[in-house]
């Protein structure tokens, strides 16, 4: 076989020409395309290959931290020092400064190079070899990608915000037009209608700003032992009437006997209210007979789950991809595009995640999965007051109510939706 021939050939050459072998090894050390250096116990560079010398400069005998990083003392996580201590191989990621003053990122692996007999006859490492692979290009690419993603997110947010504000502006301009024309033609009822339009759109812009602030700041979760089914029931009670008015049946399928769980009841209430409100809207928009929304709870295999299923028109892949995007809404002017984003944020604060099953024409299931072992710690003393049978007053003000947008919600996200258009 060819491979065996090559090995044999090399053995012959090794045996036959030790000087040539030494020259080859020297060339190998010099030309290997990474930084190679040998350090003594004082971290002085006793040998460095060509790539290392050309990139970092430095004279023979200089401290490695001086050569690699222009430092006056050893680095905090020095792999060479660890090798001197335990005689094992160590790898770490470092950032240095090249001879031309540029940042260089590299992954360095340090290993024992030579040993001497120490006190008591044990062998100790007296030289370490360090081999570093330059990853500066990869790090730069990674940074550029992150920057691009950040810019895209900012652009998306600004575009979404502009979209919402344009709708509100048009409502305001409409209010002014209707009021003026009513005044000009002597129609008090029309003037009144124009004023109502102005009022409504002022409330919308105010709610939008408050929601933005609430979202950007986040709220301190108040975690207390909570009965999951009670939170679910509160949301069901809140929406039963409005669902009925829309011709949609709101069903409950709550697993009995779910134990207390450390939850931010107000936050979970907001999540469920968002999902139920979205589901009702999805059924309403779909206009199918016998529409229903079902809120389910379960607690199996250490995972507490809330599910909201609807018989609406479902979502295609494109919409599914966008639903957790800031300001994305399918509800036209009726949505703020923050509902699902807030839901995901709250669920993540509970150590859980939001899953979506949906296909066009087949309805949608949103599932909040909260592994119990990852639930947050209690922030209130466990006592009668801490056990949340229902939802504290704050929950009602955070949750989107069944009233029309801009009605009287204060900090409410207003109407929510499948991401919201």
């Amino acid at each position: 076989m060819k491979g065996q021939d090559s090995v044999q050939d090399m053995r012959i050459r090794e045996a036959g020409d030790p000087e040539r072998l030494m020259r080859e090894n020297e060339l190998l050390f010099e030309r290997v395309p990474c930084y190679v250096s040998v350090l003594d116990r004082e971290l002085r560079v006793v040998r460095a290959n060509r790539r290392m010398r050309e990139t970092f400069g430095g004279r023979r005998g200089a401290h490695c931290y001086r050569v690699y990083k222009r430092r006056d003392a050893p680095c905090l996580e020095c792999p060479a020092l660890r090798v001197f201590q335990d005689g094992l191989e160590h790898t770490s990621r470092q950032t240095g400064i090249t001879a031309s003053g540029e940042e260089a990122h590299y992954v360095v692996t340090a290993a024992p190079f030579s040993t001497v007999r120490g006190p008591g006859g044990t062998r100790v490492v007296d030289h370490v070899i360090e081999m570093s692979v330059d990853i500066t290009h990869e790090v730069q690419l990674q940074r550029e990608m992150l920057d691009a993603e950040r810019l895209a997110a900012v652009g998306q947010t600004v575009a979404g915000l502009a979209h919402g504000i344009k709708n509100i502006l048009m409502g305001m301009e409409g209010g002014v037009y209707v009021m003026r024309s009513g005044s000009r033609t002597g129609q008090p009822a029309r003037v009144e209608r124009g004023l109502e339009m102005l009022d409504r759109n002022l409330a919308k812009v105010s709610a939008l700003v408050k929601n933005l602030l609430a979202f950007s700041k986040g709220s301190e979760p108040r975690v207390a032992l909570t009965e999951p089914n009670h939170v679910a029931q509160e949301v069901l009670d809140l929406y039963t009437q409005s669902a009925l008015r829309a011709g949609i049946e709101l069903r409950a399928m709550l697993q009995p006997g779910i134990p207390l769980a450390p939850l931010d009841a107000a936050g979970i209430h907001t999540c469920l209210a968002n999902l139920v409100s979205n589901a009702i809207d999805a059924c309403h928009a779909c206009d199918r007979p016998n529409g229903f929304v079902e809120l389910r709870t379960s607690d199996t295999d250490g995972v507490l789950s809330f599910e909201v299923a609807d018989s609406g028109c479902g979502m295609d892949q494109e919409i599914r991809r966008k639903i957790f995007t800031t300001f994305f809404t399918t509800k036209g002017a009726g949505g703020t595009g923050l509902g699902l984003l807030m839901t995901r944020k709250i669920v993540q604060e509970h150590g859980g995640r939001v899953e979506v099953d949906s296909r066009p024409g087949e309805g949608t299931v949103f599932r909040i999965r909260l592994p119990r072992r990852r639930l947050p710690d209690l922030t209130a003393p466990v006592g009668d007051e801490a056990v949340t049978a229902g939802v504290p007053a704050v929950a009602a003000s955070l949750a989107p109510g069944p009233e029309p947008a801009g009605a009287s919600h204060g900090t409410s996200p207003g109407r929510t939706d499948h991401g919201q258009a």
């Binding site: 979209h163 048009m170 301009e173 409409g174 206009d287 036209g332 258009a421």
Partner: protein, 141 residues
């Protein structure tokens, strides 16, 4: 289908009630006979048997979008030439790309105009008049 009093008929479709109220008032003041709908499905029902002279159509609405309704209208011989004014809070570029993907170029037969919200009312009314009187072309506001 102009009403017996000679007023051109327009159907305004937008899910935002204040936008509908605003444009309906302005178009009525301009002498239009105005009907309204708050979504694409209601609009389609309103169009059955009574084609207006002009359709003012929002693009992003719950349920079917304005573009989806437009596509259906363009495939129907009765409404294929119906003049349409699109409204959108999206940028004009987004609307144009949506139109291009909806049908061949700018919506096939018939004339189309589009306005970014909030609309400049005089320009919007001028476009509405021009489209109804057959002087319209693809335009934007």
């Amino acid at each position: 289908m102009t009403d017996p009093g000679g007023r051109p008929r327009v159907l305004v479709v937008d899910d935002e009630q204040d936008v509908v109220t605003y444009l309906a008032a302005a178009l009525e003041d301009e002498g239009f006979d105005v009907a309204t709908a708050s979504n694409a499905e209601d609009a389609e029902r309103a169009l059955i048997g009574r084609t207006p002279d002009l359709l003012v159509l929002d693009i992003m609405m719950p349920g079917h979008s304005g573009l989806a309704l437009f596509k259906r209208l363009r495939s129907d011989p009765v409404t294929v030439g119906l003049p349409v004014v699109f409204l959108s809070a999206c940028s004009a570029a987004d609307v144009v790309s949506g139109l291009a993907s909806t049908s061949n170029g700018h919506g096939g037969a018939g004339v189309v105009s589009y306005f970014e919200k909030p609309v400049v009312l005089p320009a919007f009314l001028e476009a509405a008049r021009a489209l109804v009187h057959g002087a319209g072309a693809v335009s934007r506001g």
